[in-house]
């Protein structure tokens, strides 16, 4: 065999995969944005009509806003909880292995299963959380039926589901911090909090960056939770951008329009990630 051909042959599986499953769908989606297509009828060229419609679509803008609300609650909560638990699980505590596995368990459980479980917890009448609140003398909370609370409820659930993954990442980060830094700080009489803020946090900044990026991208793709739990309600307060795009595509077969929404939303995610990267890199 020609020696020059060998490298091409070796990379060809990836190239073929890339062309079929990434390049073609992306290019096809961009083409779709200029068309009206319901899958079964021939495509109809519509120029920029889908883009014009996008900017007039109040519900899509609301879905983006909902997603941003979710991110604003979810990302800080995720980081704080994951970092706190990672710090605890990094100590020599009893049953450390068990707790590490227990916190990771929700990550590997199906999103639909987790959502149905939380539906039981969040139930207004018979939900466990409200039963506890009433027992403690508080009023019931409309976790999923109050438009102001439904999205924070979903953010809380998503944090519970994903926190295990970020605990693992933070644990790795924490274990890479050289021990002699802490020993030197101890000699100087630093407190626990001083060591945390002056040594731990700066040293795990790359991990924080990774967690922020991962949870931002994960948060932007919020779908299963509102799809199963609320259907986007009440009053569209949990309608995420991805759920809206999905509905346009697979409820109503507006393939051209949903491709336009998808492309626009992908650009938003890309912009946010670039901004985050620049901002956090500067901090590092």
């Amino acid at each position: 065999m020609n020696k020059k051909a060998v490298p091409y042959l070796l990379v060809s599986p990836y190239i073929i995969h890339f062309l079929i499953f990434i390049a073609f769908p992306v290019i096809f989606s961009i083409v779709l944005t200029f068309h009206k297509w319901n899958i079964i009828s021939p495509m109809e060229y519509t120029g920029f009509a889908n883009y014009i419609r996008l900017f007039q679509d109040a519900l899509f803008l609301k879905s983006i806003l909902n997603t941003l609300i979710f991110l604003v609650i979810h990302i800080p909560l995720q980081i704080i909880v994951a970092l706190f638990l990672a710090e605890v699980l990094n100590q020599k505590i009893h049953l450390r292995g068990f707790f590490r596995a227990a916190f990771f368990l929700p990550v590997v459980v199906s999103g639909v299963v987790v959502t149905i479980l939380w539906q039981q917890l969040y139930g207004f009448d018979t939900g466990l959380l409200n039963k506890i609140l009433v027992t403690l003398g508080f009023g019931k909370v409309g976790w999923l039926i109050d438009p102001k609370i439904a999205m924070p409820s979903i953010a809380l659930m998503a944090t519970w589901k994903n926190v295990g993954l970020y605990i693992v990442l933070f644990l790795v980060g924490l274990q890479t911090v050289p021990k002699h830094y802490y020993e030197a700080a101890d000699l100087e009489g630093a407190t626990h909090w001083q060591k945390f803020f002056k040594i731990t946090l700066p040293m795990i900044n790359p991990t924080i960056f990774l967690v922020v990026i991962l949870s931002t991208i994960g948060g932007f793709s919020l779908f299963i939770e509102p799809y199963v739990l609320t259907g986007g309600g009440p009053l569209n307060s949990t309608l995420s951008a991805v759920l809206y795009i999905y509905k346009q595509a697979f409820f109503y077969y507006h393939m051209g329009y949903s491709a336009t929404l998808g492309l626009f939303f992908a650009l938003i995610i890309l912009s946010v990630v670039i901004i985050q990267k620049k901002f956090i890199e500067r901090e590092v």
Partner: protein, 432 residues
């Protein structure tokens, strides 16, 4: 080596035998593929009818039966099959509301071009049903097959406790009974027994179980869409929204989704629901001892007179244009929906064939005598409506559903405003 050659001969011989034994089916000149739904009862019915056809009609088309392949929904599978041009010749579970989209895409065969079809369809159905199934281009691409009318199921034990001798007929009666039943059973300060329950999520088809049957009942079966225009901005739709809104405002219905709990009707947490005959099979299987229930018509506005319509959830039969021999397919369909096979459909699936005189035809009398709850549905079957012919039906129901949530469930809009907004938004669909 000789041993290997000997075994090879045996394997080749066996393979030859297997392949030639399959020949009878595969080599049939007029083989047609028929897909049913993948509901176990319907599979049983389809197997029964296909076997009977193939046995009794060896000189005609050989029907190969298969349930619609598994997927998230049969609708998605059909869509994928249309795109991939792998549609069956005959499909028997097409929701009436989907037909217009497929008809406009040109993937369905028009039945009205077949000799004798028009006579047949008027023999089977009333003229209003024939009008209902006509597509916008005037052709008929579907055969009305079966319906599951939406009616009010009610808990007779609760009604006796409340001193109600009859199920509520009008809005006022329903509201009065709701007030009687509503209570805080566990004493935590919150209502936990509701007179009725309907899914609160905005998914478009959920409105088939609340707004739409109520609208049809109140209006005597009026359409939502006519000539590419919303025609539901009327007193009936506003009246329905007002009535349903009162149910939530007064906590006669809950805003909470109860679908993840055990059946709230069978547990007597709610006294009524709006559902179809499939509930009978479910209730008979899971009801607690001594639990009694029955069905009644959808409540109507006070002073309403005349027949009470409801939504029939029609599922129809279509022939795809990939069918090599529509005439043979049609002959099989005629056989499948014959009076005798419609009786089998009733017996096996507890679903009603969409044919006239169902409740009085002598052939079905024994069945309805043995199944009196189904008789109620058979009587209702004279007054059912399907859906209007429009390719944007799902969007129409979605827009109504959005306004339903805003007005009926959360009360942030008045009924007049909500219906007006829904109608305006629907009219925009036709402009686009």
């Amino acid at each position: 080596m000789k041993e290997i050659i000997k075994y090879l001969h045996i394997i080749i011989f066996l393979l030859f035998g297997i392949l030639t034994s399959c020949g009878n089916e595969n080599d049939h000149e007029n083989k047609l593929l028929y897909w049913s739904s993948n509901n176990p009862d319907e599979i049983e019915f389809a197997k029964y009818v296909v076997n009977k056809w193939n046995k009794e009609n060896p000189d005609k088309a050989f029907i190969k039966f298969q349930p619609v392949p598994e997927g998230q929904s049969s609708e998605e599978i059909i869509l994928a099959a249309v795109v991939g041009e792998t549609t069956p010749d005959i499909y028997s579970n097409m929701w009436q509301g989907d037909v217009e989209v497929y008809a406009q895409a040109g993937v369905l065969f028009p039945f009205d071009t077949l000799d004798g079809f028009i006579d047949f369809i008027y023999e089977r159905c009333d003229s209003n049903v024939v009008e209902e199934i006509k597509s916008l281009d005037g052709h008929i691409y579907q055969i009305p097959w079966k319906i599951n009318p939406i009616m009010m199921i009610y808990n007779q034990n609760i009604f006796r406790e409340l001193g109600l001798s009859n199920p509520p007929h009008s809005y006022s009666e329903y509201l009065a009974a709701s007030e009687l039943f509503k209570k805080d059973a566990d004493g935590d300060g919150y209502v936990d027994r509701w007179f009725g329950y309907s899914e609160v999520i905005v998914t478009w088809w959920q409105r088939f179980f609340d707004f739409y049957p109520f609208y049809l009942a109140a209006s005597g079966g009026a359409p939502l869409i006519e000539n590419d225009k919303a025609v539901f901005n009327n007193e009936y739709a506003i009246g329905v929204f007002s009535f349903l809104k009162k149910l939530y405002d007064n906590e006669y219905f809950t805003r909470e989704r109860l679908s993840a709990r055990q059946d709230v009707f069978l547990s007597s947490d709610v006294a009524t629901r709006f559902t179809g005959p499939w509930e009978i099979v479910h209730a008979e299987k899971f009801k607690p001892e001594g639990f009694e229930y029955d069905f009644s018509t959808i409540p109507v506005p006070d002073g309403f007179e005349g027949p009470i319509y409801t939504y029939g959830d029609p599922k129809n039969i279509v022939i795809f244009n990939t069918c090599s021999n529509p005439q043979y397919a049609w002959e099989f369909i005629k056989f499948m929906i014959s009076k005798e096979n419609d009786l089998k459909l009733l017996e096996i699936t507890t679903q009603l064939p969409r044919r006239k005189h169902l409740d009085t035809d002598s052939l079905y009398l024994n069945y309805f005598t043995a199944n009196p709850k189904m008789k109620t549905f058979a009587k209702q079957s004279k007054y059912v409506k399907g859906t209007d012919s429009t390719p944007v039906l799902k969007e129409v129901f979605d827009l109504i559903s959005q306004e339903y949530e805003a007005c009926v469930i959360y009360g942030v809009k008045s009924p007049e405003q909500a219906i007006n907004d829904a109608a305006n938004a629907v009219n925009l669909l036709f402009i686009e």
